[in-house]
């Protein structure tokens, strides 16, 4: 296996070289001045927290995102990809988190999609099949050529994607979280495939959350944090501990308000028993009156799926949810809201706000019955009810009549909070409440959460930002693969404690139901 140290790459031209690549989205720097080299015949891994810029960097290399500045060289020649197709022309292929296959076409047709052997516009099926079989044999795959891809398992679909890359003579394959959606033996098989690819002289850029996987597969590892490169070093020089340190290592950003007093004897407000739902495997938990419980875990660990199932936004296949001792009879948002359970959804654009309506209408939407008589909305009582809540959430620089799409991200989030405050919930679920929100508004939202809890609301807080979970919660639950795998409290509530529970090797984890 071609093991090449980062220093060793200076002896020959690296396959891909990045020179101070930057990319902004709006005002946020997703990646900021990153330089690194990817040698051929090796696995190069990118690690970092959620939002560190790993996926963006992978996409820049694979041509699906165009960088704002910096240059990229393939075998010493400067390139500028405007599309994944152009990257493919230079031997760089991507295997995305969401696979891009045509479900109705067969394996062989997918592998050669867009590059079918043809005469005129007539596809030569025989040639297609024999070419496929040669390719599969070379790569050590054994998928039947004629089977439609749609019904295949994800692991098999990944193999189709890899073969598609090989069919186009790819020399570098970018794999973004390839093992995230796989279970036990499929993960091992994938690792074998990656090792075989490298032995054949291909390079693999591996973006992964699983540190043990990274350490066992990669030759070199680049650690990213907040869009910047912390360091690139040989895998042999790293351990899980040093990687975690490198990924965190930042000073505490936004300050947090003082946590409200907690009464461990307080009555249980949210009680969840053995809930099973898509991507959620048998979760039980409790949140008491005035308590803030953090729900941590990696992207894809099932946190959002869990809270959506609790709220009734998605179906629960079994299990019970009790609000203040009363079981929710059915999984419907309307009934949850009436029982005193409210949820700030993960994406305010997709699931939260009516972007082309006013602040006023967005806030009163869940409580219209309270400001109307016989179905007629009283504009006066609506305004009278909404304005004190807007003051409470500290909406700045916008009026009740402002259209929501014209607000800043922070203000939009405050509008969403205002809607849920107006329902006076006993239990509030907040899913990523500060995503895409600037620092000042973050603090305002933290204050709101703490204020709610101090008034007795039970809060279940989902966040990918560890410091946020730690800074606000009395107690932290860590999810992995649809289960709550750890409960941390007091001294045990540390970043490394959460990461240790959240990052586990997929091979050793049992299959989620």
């Amino acid at each position: 296996m071609g093991w090449i140290s980062p220093e060793g790459s200076s002896t020959g031209t690296p396959l891909v070289e990045l020179q101070s690549i930057s990319k902004q989205f709006g005002g946020v720097r997703a990646i900021d001045g990153i330089s690194l080299e990817i040698p051929s015949g090796a696995v190069h891994a990118l690690v970092g927290e959620n939002g560190a810029g790993k996926s963006t960097l992978g996409k820049v290399i694979a041509g699906s995102i165009h960088p704002d500045s910096g240059s990229m060289l393939v075998e010493g020649v400067e390139v500028s990809f405007r599309s994944p197709r152009e990257a493919l022309g230079h031997g760089i292929a991507a295997m995305a988190q969401e696979l891009l296959l045509v479900g109705r076409l067969s394996v062989a047709e997918n592998v050669f999609l867009g590059a079918e052997p043809s005469r005129g516009s007539w596809i030569r099926r025989g040639t297609l099949k024999s070419r496929y079989e040669r390719l599969a044999a070379d790569a050590g795959f054994s998928l039947p050529a004629d089977e439609p891809v749609g019904g295949m398992r994800i692991a098999e679909q990944q193999q189709v994607e890899i073969m598609r890359a090989l069919a186009r003579d790819a020399r570098l394959i970018v794999m973004d979280e390839p093992s995230a959606a796989l279970s036990g033996s499929d993960v091992e098989r994938l690792h074998e495939i990656i090792r075989t690819l490298v032995a054949q002289g291909k390079a693999v850029l591996l973006v992964s959350h699983f540190l043990r996987e990274v350490l066992s597969l990669a030759d070199t590892i680049s650690v990213l944090r907040d869009g910047q490169l912390v360091r690139t070093s040989a895998a042999a020089d790293e351990t899980e501990a040093t990687l975690i340190q490198g990924m965190l290592g930042r000073p505490l950003g936004a300050a947090f308000p003082k946590k409200p007093e907690r009464n461990v004897q307080a009555p249980v407000r949210l009680s969840v028993r053995n809930v099973i739902a898509p991507a959620v495997a048998d979760v039980s938990l409790e949140v008491r009156e005035g308590e803030i419980v953090g729900l941590a875990g990696l992207v894809g660990a099932g946190r959002t799926e869990l809270v959506r199932a609790l709220f009734g936004a998605d179906r629960r296949s079994s299990g019970t949810v009790e609000i203040a001792g009363k079981e929710l009879s059915s999984d419907q948002p309307l009934l949850s809201l009436r029982s005193g359970l409210a949820m700030i959804p993960e994406s305010r654009r997709e699931q939260g706000l009516l972007f082309n309506r006013s602040v006023l209408e967005n806030v009163s939407l869940s409580s219209l019955g309270d400001v109307s008589r016989g179905g007629w909305v009283s504009r006066r009582s609506e305004r009278a009810a909404v304005s004190p809540i807007l003051e409470r959430v500290a909406l700045r620089g916008a009026t009740p009549d402002s259209v929501v799409s014209t607000l800043s991200g922070g203000n939009q989030q405050k509008v969403l909070f205002a809607r849920n405050l107006m329902c006076e919930p006993r239990v509030l679920i907040a899913d990523e409440p500060t995503r895409g929100v600037d620092v000042g508004a973050k603090r305002a939202i933290y204050d709101l959460i703490v204020e709610l809890a101090s008034r007795g609301t039970a809060v279940l807080l989902v966040s990918s930002e560890l410091e946020e979970v730690l800074g606000l919660s009395h107690r932290v639950l860590v999810m992995r693969r649809g289960r709550v795998v750890a409960e941390l409290e007091g001294e045990a509530m540390t970043e490394s404690g959460i990461l240790a529970a959240a990052f586990a090797d997929p091979v050793t984890t049992e299959v989620a139901a």
Partner: protein, 349 residues
């Protein structure tokens, strides 16, 4: 409409910041000039977009044709458009709540036939009520299929238009029903009240009621929510399916009222699918600035949209222009209306 400038100043960057999630998989949001953006975000362009051509055309016709600006001509336009306006007002509710109703032309025919068949057996008032209920029933079924059975509303109502037209032909056996057996049926449209035909009064009442329903009631708010962002509405506790079914039911009822208005005026019914009407209604709604994607639209602008189209036709008549160009003019206006809608959405997101 009165939002202050400061809030709007931050807009353009915002749409892009939105995209940066945990692991930025974002695309690039366009950052438009903030003034143009501000204007569009308020929906001002759209309401101006419909009122301005209407007013201009009105003035031009007043000057160009002596016969235009007369009480008789204007009342005549309103009366001729009564059925279209009633149906388009309800159709606005359907579009706002995220659906579309292509069965109105068929329901229009069915209701007239149902009422007509009952005439002579029951009092005219009951016959009219039965016709309207038939429309309500068809609309409710449309709504149920398009929501709980999750069949695309366009397909549902298109298919329903064939079913309904078929039922109507079965009832008439393909014959024209002459509705002169009960003279009070004709009174529904042809009674003079304060110098204005009763059909116009019916239209005014229906349009005002539906306009207020959409703008000022809880169900109206839920319609905007259901059409603007169904998932967000659901999570906010809105019964999206129920809301949409109500919109379809109202559309069916309105189509029936439209059918009865016209059959009462001409005292006959043939039960054929009036697909020309279906598309004129849709054209009026869209020209009035209602988004075919849902979540946006106002009843009074639909009324202006329908009347704008009517003015074009009236103008061609009065000025003796080649009516072939009327269709072209209408088509171009529709494209402009829809184009403006699509363009303003692109700028916003």
């Amino acid at each position: 409409m009165s939002a202050t400038g400061e809030s709007a100043a931050q807009d353009p960057a915002q749409s892009a910041i939105e995209e940066v999630g945990a692991d930025s998989t974002a695309g690039q949001g366009a950052a438009p000039g903030s003034r143009r953006y501000q204007l569009l975000a308020r929906g001002k362009v759209r309401s101006v977009g419909i009122v301005a051509p209407f007013v201009i055309l009105f003035i031009v016709l007043s000057i160009a044709s002596g016969g235009f600006l007369t009480k008789a001509n204007l009342l005549n336009i309103l009366d001729q458009q009564a059925a279209t306006l009633v149906i388009a007002a309800a159709g606005t509710l359907v579009l706002v709540s995220g659906g579309i109703d292509l069965s109105v032309g068929a329901v229009y025919g069915l209701a007239a036939v149902v009422s007509g068949k009952l005439l002579g057996h029951v009092p005219a008032g009951f016959a009219i009520l039965a016709g309207i209920l038939a429309g309500t029933l068809v609309g409710t079924v449309n709504g149920f299929i398009a929501t709980f059975l999750r069949i695309n509303a366009l397909i549902t109502t298109l298919a329903m238009s064939f079913v309904v037209a078929g039922i109507a032909s079965l009832v008439t056996q393909g014959n024209l029903l002459v509705l002169s057996s009960d003279t009070s049926f004709g009174d529904f449209s042809n009674t003079d009240i304060l110098g204005v035909n009763s059909s116009t009064w019916v239209m005014v009442i229906v349009v005002v009621v539906l306009g207020l329903l959409l703008a000022r009631t809880t169900i109206g708010r839920y319609m905007y929510a259901a059409g603007g962002n169904a998932e967000a509405a659901r999570i906010a506790g809105v019964r999206v399916n129920m809301t949409r079914i109500i919109a379809f039911a109202l559309s069916g009822s309105a189509a029936a009222i439209g059918g009865i208005i016209d059959s009462s005026r001409v005292l006959s019914a043939d039960g054929t699918n009036n697909s020309q009407l279906t598309f004129t209604v849709l054209a009026g709604i869209v020209v009035g600035g209602t988004s075919i994607l849902g979540g946006e639209g106002v009843v009074w602008r639909t009324a202006i949209g329908v009347l704008l189209i009517a003015l074009i036709g009236n103008g061609y008549d009065l000025l003796g222009l080649n009516p072939l160009y009327e269709q072209i003019t209408l088509g171009v206006i529709m494209m402009l209306a829809v184009g403006l809608d699509a363009w303003s959405r692109q700028v916003r997101h």
